[in-house]
């Protein structure tokens, strides 16, 4: 809420070494973006019309629900990764049937069926 002249404020900022350092890094970033051709792409992408199209595609009922479940999904993925690391011996059909008594396996199977249903919609 400062009432000071913005130009004068900028000049004092320029004397601040922290700001000078940040500014030189920013220039380096801009140079790199230009060299790699990414700057051109960024300029094109940030055209309001393109941004609107991107938002329109990204913001849907599905993505809103997905965003909400990402936390749970990531935790699940962690568990899956852990299970993949485990040493297991090959299972027979009778072992597969027996394992259905395991509530975790039964629940997982239920999830799998729900997933298949959703995929078939």
């Amino acid at each position: 809420m400062s009432e000071r002249d913005p130009l004068a404020q900028l000049l004092t900022e320029l004397e601040n070494p922290e700001f000078q350092e940040a500014l030189s890094k920013l220039l380096e970033l801009v140079k790199n973006l230009e060299k790699s051709g990414l700057l051109d792409m960024l300029v094109a992408i940030t055209e309001p019309e393109v941004i609107n199209r991107i938002f329109d595609m990204v913001i849907t009922t599905g993505t809103m629900k997905l965003g909400d479940s990402i936390e749970g999904l990531l935790n699940k993925l962690g568990d899956v990764a852990e299970a993949l690391q485990e040493d297991v011996k090959p299972a027979s059909l009778s072992e597969l049937i027996a394992s259905l008594k395991d509530p975790e396996v039964a629940k997982g199977l239920g999830r799998l069926i729900a997933l298949l249903k959703a995929l078939g919609k």
């Binding site: 809420m1 609107n52 329109d56 849907t60 965003g67 909400d68 990402i70």
Partner: protein, 394 residues
């Protein structure tokens, strides 16, 4: 000849309407008595986490597009038959179209003791200076009871006291006073939140934060000397620091004809077109009208878009859509409903907190350049339409 539109009030609704109309080539005059626009939810962070008010304030003249004729003045009276607006400076404006966006006014005098309580402790509704006063008391409360209550069930931003309870309990925890200070949320509703659907989601979260919830407690009088609050339902509460949401009323201005105001001074409108009853050239948007939906920045913003579209000649309709954010520690949820659809269950998540952070980050830009944000907001409101999210909610 260009149509002359007069917009009264530079809150969320007024700024969005004025800036949209000027980009469509209308002759727009915006009247505002204050120099600064306040991001009102910011008062919660000022009052309960000690934030600097400057973070939530911007000069009104930096929020209007070039071309908007901004008048720093106070509205005294409006004559809808004569199509004139009288200002405190003595100036009289005439208009082809009028948009009233004057918000609510607060009544601290109908509840005995309320003015004295407010002058002592402040609150998180009436302005940044009062929120700072409340912070002074909250931050120096070593032990005892912090009471957050309401004088009436109809106030703007229904989840404001819940946010206040969450934020203050986290602050007290951080200060190591959680066991010494009890946060009591005492509200007029039957459940912890006006909508039972959301109460079921919010109540366990409040419990988790250690907040004591009291329902059916509408403040009737306050005894500041003995630090006691009495409810209309016949109970009493002791406090060490208390903030009571004031009775909200319509804007304190004279309108001719008087019949367009309801008994509390809210302006009677068609709930879909937002046209003031009996006048097709006058609209009332945001908190100052009597639409049966929550009084929030989101409804003001959406209302402004509807009114601008109608002035442009489209048959746009206001849906009463709400999107009231409730923030808890690191998470958030939204209260989502519309005229056609009651509140759906929406649970707390980190993702929604991120969305809320993005909404806040876009706030200033969405006021000054609302046209740039329209399609983004439209996509969001369509994606989260209560009928689309379904009964299982979000």
């Amino acid at each position: 000849m260009t149509e002359k539109v007069v917009v009264l009030g530079a809150g969320t609704g007024g700024l969005v309407a004025a800036n949209l109309l000027v980009s469509h080539g209308y002759d727009v005059t915006l009247v505002e008595k204050k120099d600064y626009h306040l991001f009102q939810p910011g008062m919660l962070w000022i009052a309960f986490q000690g934030h600097d008010p400057s973070k939530y304030m911007r000069r009104v003249d930096t929020l209007v597009k070039p071309g908007v004729n901004l008048l720093k003045d106070t509205v005294e009276s409006i004559d809808l038959n004569e199509r004139t607006v009288k200002l405190e400076s003595g100036k009289t404006l005439d208009y082809d179209k009028l948009i009233i966006a004057l918000g609510v006014s607060y009544d601290y005098d109908s509840v005995p003791g309320h003015r004295q309580l407010w002058e002592t402790y402040g609150d998180y509704f009436s302005g940044p200076e009062h929120a700072q006063r409340l912070w002074k008391h909250v931050s120096s409360l070593r032990e005892g009871k912090l009471v957050l209550a309401a004088a009436d069930p109809l106030y703007k931003c229904p989840p404001a006291p819940h946010k206040a309870a969450f934020l203050s309990s986290y602050t007290l925890k951080k200060m190591g006073r959680k066991d010494k200070v009890e946060v009591i949320l005492a509200l007029p509703f039957i459940h912890a939140y006006p909508s039972e659907t959301m109460a079921k989601i919010v109540e366990p979260k409040l419990e988790e934060a250690g907040v004591t919830v009291m329902t059916m407690f509408t403040v009737e009088s306050i005894d500041v000397e003995n630090k006691k609050i009495y409810s209309m339902e016949g109970e009493e509460l002791e406090y060490d620091v208390a903030a009571v949401i004031p009775i909200n009323k319509g804007p304190q201005i004279e309108i001719t004809p008087d019949s367009v105001k309801d008994e509390d001074g809210f302006i009677k409108v068609n709930k879909y077109t937002l046209e003031v009853e009996g006048f097709d050239d006058v609209y009332a948007i945001g908190d100052c009208n009597n639409t049966p939906t929550s009084k929030t920045g989101v409804t003001a913003h959406l209302g402004a878009e509807v009114v601008v579209d109608r002035i442009l000649g489209y048959d746009a309709k206001f849906t009463g859509r709400t999107n009231c954010p409730i923030v808890a520690n690191g998470t958030a949820t939204f209260v989502i409903s519309s005229y056609e659809h009651p509140v759906i269950p929406v649970k707390f998540s980190k993702f929604k907190r991120m969305l809320e952070d993005l909404f806040i980050a876009a706030y200033w830009s969405s006021l000054r350049d609302p046209e740039k944000w329209r399609s983004v907001f439209k996509a969001y409101f369509e994606a989260t339409d209560p009928t689309k999210l379904g009964e299982s909610g979000w």
